[in-house]
């Protein structure tokens, strides 16, 4: 309810208006002890600049990389991160939870 996502969404609108390619990544599902609840979001522009968070910082790097793909292709993507994931050694959630992150292009 009371997060400061308006700054993130404002940035999404401002960056888009300024001519940037912009993607929005949103936590849509969590299992176990995920650090950020569903609805938490991260906005990324084509410079790789980002604002907000979808985890405690564990997977943001990977989300930004995927978001750049989404900006280029225009096609939304669903990402999943968790300890059970085969990439866990690289970008797993140390808290043991699992999250699904929906990444979509703005505009």
């Amino acid at each position: 309810m009371l997060n400061r996502d308006e700054d993130i969404l404002k940035a999404a609108e401002d960056w888009q208006k300024a001519g940037h390619g912009v993607a929005l990544a949103t936590v849509v599902e969590t299992w176990g002890s995920a650090p950020r609840p569903a609805g938490s979001s991260l906005v990324i522009n084509d410079d790789g600049t980002f604002l907000g968070s979808v985890s405690g910082g564990c997977v943001e790097g990977a989300v930004v990389t995927e978001a750049l793909d989404v900006i280029a292709s225009g096609k939304p993507k669903m990402l999943e991160f968790g300890v059970a994931d085969e990439t866990a050694w690289n970008v797993g959630l140390s808290c043991g939870g699992t999250i699904r992150v929906f990444v979509e292009k703005v505009g």
């Binding site: 569903a38 929906f102 979509e104 292009k105």
Partner: protein
């Protein structure tokens, strides 16, 4: 997200009106439902439930998995009384992401030196409060200990749908306050909305500790389901 949806969503957020974005995560299809349009929406039951909980989540409708992202306004905290407790309470509430306003007609109390970086209104409640648009997403605390200031402020809060009302004072002080408020037309339901003595009972002594107990009580009121709220109170 289409730019037009984003723009509309941002406009609702600036106006402090809740809205929900529905996304079909299989294909990215999306629509925005403003709070005022929920009653007429085919998904009204799901939307209303999600908004009431203030929580984003997934629902299945007609074989489609939909993500409902709830955008509720940032909570406000209105503090009546620029007193010592408020000096601890205001920064604490800001750290918890509340938009804080302090109201106190006594200019010696409501000074920027005592409250750096906090919006201060050195006016009586009848002047200060109407423009603040105290709404459902507002917590309201009266801590001046002065009935001339606290009482009219509390009467204003009763007329609004704020999610929390707290008033400083011992049980004895509160009993007197209740008598005065009743005499000024407050109903039993109004009186029951006041959390007094204010704050969770954690044995708080210092102004900072009292601020912690107040913010803990406000957080419980905001986040706990109704049944657990009673147990915490």
């Amino acid at each position: 997200m289409k730019l037009e949806i984003l723009k509309e969503l941002n406009a609702e957020r600036v106006a402090r009106r809740p809205a929900i974005v529905i996304t079909d995560t299989a294909n990215g299809e999306q629509r925005l439902v403003k709070a005022s349009d929920i009653a007429a929406d085919p998904m009204r039951a799901e939307l209303a439930k999600q908004l009431r909980m203030g929580k984003s989540g997934n629902v299945e409708v007609g074989g489609k998995k939909l993500f409902l992202n709830v955008y509720a306004p940032t909570a406000k905290l209105v503090i009546i009384g620029a007193v010592h407790i408020s000096q601890a309470l205001a920064p604490m509430a800001r750290a918890l992401d509340y938009d804080v306003t302090v109201v106190d007609p006594r200019t010696a109390f409501a000074s920027p030196e005592r409250f750096p970086d906090v919006p201060l209104i050195a006016e009586w409640p009848d002047v200060a409060l109407p423009p603040l648009n105290v709404d459902h997403y507002t917590a309201f605390v009266a801590v001046t200990h002065d009935p001339k200031i606290d009482d009219p402020a509390l009467l204003h809060a009763f007329a609004r749908d704020c999610f929390y009302i707290g008033a400083l004072g011992s049980r004895k002080t509160h009993a007197k306050r209740v008598e005065r408020l009743r005499a000024q037309g407050a109903s039993e339901a109004d009186i029951a909305r006041i959390h007094a003595p204010i704050g969770l009972d954690i044995g708080a002594v210092s102004p900072s500790e009292i601020a912690v107990s107040i913010m803990a009580e406000i957080t419980a009121q905001l986040r706990l389901p109704p049944k657990e709220k009673e147990q915490a109170a």
